[in-house]
């Protein structure tokens, strides 16, 4: 059911830059409290969509309502209820962490006292209290991103937009960030996340759409998409470069579908172990083999014929 005040309702949404169509007639509905993902390779139209939702990019055609309001007419009102974590940190390097948060709070018309109190609370939340009076510049990438997240929460947003929140972070920093985002979700904040990391989408999103070349090519929960488009497991086998394709005909009947990549074969099967035994029984012996669970990466590969991060 689509509610009139729901965080995002888009119908036939289009974004054009001159002749280039960045977003091509997409329908999106984000329900309150949901963690919603836009997944796709670079240039798929994720960021353009986010910018329209963020009311900083005019809609070319179609309809977009945020909390039931029109971004063109009520942009200021909508942005007052929104928090944005941009792809690249937009912090003031010249100012301290605390000043960054307080000044941002002022943009939302918070009093100085309220902004300071809220900033202190948020720095505690992102575990940066001891860096409050440090300038932003010497902080690590992960710490700066946490400052960005804290800053985006200064107005207690009903809707949080996160554009590739963990791009460029090391694995440890990513996990700290995921943990904080999960806590926010538990508190009931609606989140919209763009990413080209499959594991991130699986971790963070209740529901997601897969975008490619401006269009939505699939929609569902991470598990639902995997169940719908690929088998449960993947057997990855390598026969050496250039010799993978020629093995395909010998594997007829094994698993569900076989994807031949230049460096390896992907055999989708409900039971990867059984598929590997069958390979050995037919005396097709790969140089190496690996069994893993299917992921959204596999869904994307099936839908578009391309891997996500090239």
């Amino acid at each position: 059911m689509v509610g009139a005040q729901d965080p995002v309702v888009a119908r036939q949404l289009v974004k054009k830059f001159d002749d280039f169509v960045a977003v091509d007639q997409i329908d999106v509905h984000v329900a309150p409290g949901e963690a919603f993902g836009f997944l796709g390779p670079n240039g798929a139209g994720k960021t353009s969509t986010m910018r329209m939702i963020g009311c900083i990019s005019p809609v070319s055609s179609g309809e977009l309502r945020i909390f039931g309001l029109d971004p063109e007419a009520d942009g200021r009102k909508i942005r007052a209820r929104m928090g944005v974590v941009p792809q690249l940190d937009q912090l003031d390097n010249e100012l301290t962490v605390m000043e960054n948060l307080v000044i941002y709070g002022r943009y939302f018309d918070l009093s100085r006292r309220d902004a300071r109190a809220k900033a202190a609370e948020l720095l505690d939340f992102v575990q940066l209290t001891e860096r409050a009076d440090s300038k932003v510049e010497p902080l690590s990438g992960g710490q700066q991103r946490r400052v960005s997240i804290a800053r985006s929460l200064i107005n207690d947003p009903d809707l949080l937009l996160l554009d590739e929140p963990t791009t460029g972070l090391d694995p440890q920093a990513r996990h700290v960030l995921w943990d904080r985002l999960y806590m926010l979700k538990e508190r009931g904040a609606t989140q919209i996340i763009t990413t080209h990391f499959m594991d991130e989408a699986e971790q963070l999103c209740d529901r997601l759409v897969v975008m490619d070349a401006g269009k939505i090519v699939a929609e569902g929960s991470p598990q639902g998409l995997i169940a719908e488009h690929v088998r449960r497991e993947v057997l990855e086998v390598r026969f050496g470069h250039g010799r993978n394709e020629e093995q395909v005909e010998k594997l007829d009947g094994i698993g569900g579908r076989i994807e031949a990549l230049p460096d390896r074969l992907l055999i989708y099967a409900d039971d990867g172990e059984a598929a590997l035994s069958e390979l050995h029984r037919r005396e097709v012996v790969p140089e190496s083999s690996l069994i893993r669970r299917s992921s959204l990466e596999d869904v994307f590969l099936k839908l578009t014929g391309r891997t996500l991060v090239e």
Binding site: F17, G54, I56, S57, P58, G75, R76, K77, R79, A80, M82, V84, P86, L88, Q90, L91, D92, N93, E94, L95, E99, I103, Y104, R106, Y107, F108, D109, N155
Partner: protein
Amino acid sequence: MTHALHVFERDVVFLRRIWKAVLLSAVVQPVMYLLGVGIGVGSLVDRGADSADLLGGVSYFAFYATALLATTPMFVGGQEALWPTLDGFMWSNSYRAMLATPISSRDVVIGQLFRYALRCVVTAAGVAVVLAIFDDTRSWGLGLAVLVGVLTGLAFAMPFAAWTATREGDSSFPAIIRFGIIPMFLFSGAFYPVSQLPDALEPVAWVTPLWHGVELCRGAVLGGLGGGMAALHVAVLLAYVVGGTAACMVTFERRLRT
């Protein structure tokens, strides 16, 4: 308006940390000019038989020193609208961060106008304090001249900022300083009355904002400027400020909301 003030507040927080450096670097240069040109060249000029007539009955030092009340904010306001302003669009992206809040691109423009004005106030006031030391230029009119200096600085800053908002890099900025600001400094009546220019060049000085600022500052401190002319000078400077601000409204919006 409150949103524009919040934008301005960011710069106040920033300037509070670096105001000493801003003041020092803004005042050291004019003081050097004052000593080098005002006193050094002045001692030669004042020996000329009819120099006092040409300069309107004042010493060369007074003639030149009062022009600095307009030229210094021109340099400071103009430069602030170049690199530090481009930073908001493409390095720190601070303007983009503002646009994710209830702040609009118009608020950003007005906030920057306040910011340039603040820089100009600090520097023009610094020059005024220095001029108050000397008998030739000590006058209550220095207060008024500070306001004129701010107006002059904005007459440069606002059109420059409108240009900056259209740039993807800073490669054009040194040329603006070298071929825009410096010639104006030399040919807009700061060093000599524009009546000394070849006849063909004189009207060029009339359309530059700096000449109007220089004439007003001189009039405010040394007197001798009629009310009609003063109003005309103010009107020209205001036209540059208003026109530049209107242009900013367009170029900032175009840059920040695409």
